[in-house]
Symmetry: C2
Subunit: 117 residues, 2 copies
DNA sequence: CAAACCTTGACACAGTCGTGGTAGGGTTTA
DNA sequence: TAAACCCTACCACGACTGTGTCAAGGTTTG
């Protein structure tokens, strides 16, 4: 068996057991469960936990920021709404060329395809 | 002059003056200023404020979520780091085809170009 | 000039985030 | 079977979000 319990996983990732449960609740890293309900962390989860910790520290962002990014990545309508809103500011003055619009629309379609696939 | 003061802008957007200052502090809608420092809301700002309100209500997201999305849109390194992390989960099991990687890399490069342009 | 605005800064307060505990109750294992 | 785990469900507490209100002082305008 190459799965660690929550306490062992905490030891090798730098998170506390308490935080591992919290991260799971946030929907970011959900380990498998044993028959009796124990969390079983595999190599993939451990790696994700380590890189997550690094991500938060490096950019000084929060778990909820990453959770929001994840939600956006999975919900095309949300993502398009937010990106559309952001698009409406930045370069309204002068520097909006037709090409920007084309690319924006094209990427939107690609995302739609990706979401369906 | 087609610019409204903060109180007038509040009236036509549904935000309170207090919240308009808060939204500005969050970096989301920054109106121009008069010589004496008064906030001057133009048509573009008013529109952005209305659609922002709708965006928050429709998806039940927070100002800080939108602020984070804006930060990601402007910082390629942050965006790539977060998307890369998200990429590392979802479909690790079986359904990762080479095409997905190609598209991911290609979009990364496009974003780099877009950021420089 | 006085009323009615505007500005920044501060206090307040409920709600959420990030964390650590603790309690009551199963599971594993020496 | 008893120690050492694990689980869920709470309480607590500081920091931040969202929002209102108030204070001290400048600006616009009837």
């Amino acid at each position: 068996m190459q799965s660690l319990t929550i306490h062992e996983a905490a030891g090798t990732t730098g998170w506390s057991p308490r935080m591992l449960r919290y991260v799971e609740q946030a929907g970011l890293v959900a380990p498998a469960r044993s028959a009796s309900g124990y969390r079983l962390y595999g190599a993939a989860e451990l790696q994700r936990l380590r890189t997550l910790k690094e991500l938060l520290a490096q950019f000084d962002i929060s778990l909820s920021d990453v959770a929001f990014a994840q939600r956006m990545a999975g919900a095309v309508d949300l993502r398009d709404a937010v990106e559309g809103w952001l698009q409406s500011q930045a370069e309204r003055p002068q520097n909006v060329q037709a090409e920007d619009w084309l690319r924006f629309e094209q990427e939107k379609h690609e995302r739609l395809l990706a979401a369906v696939a």
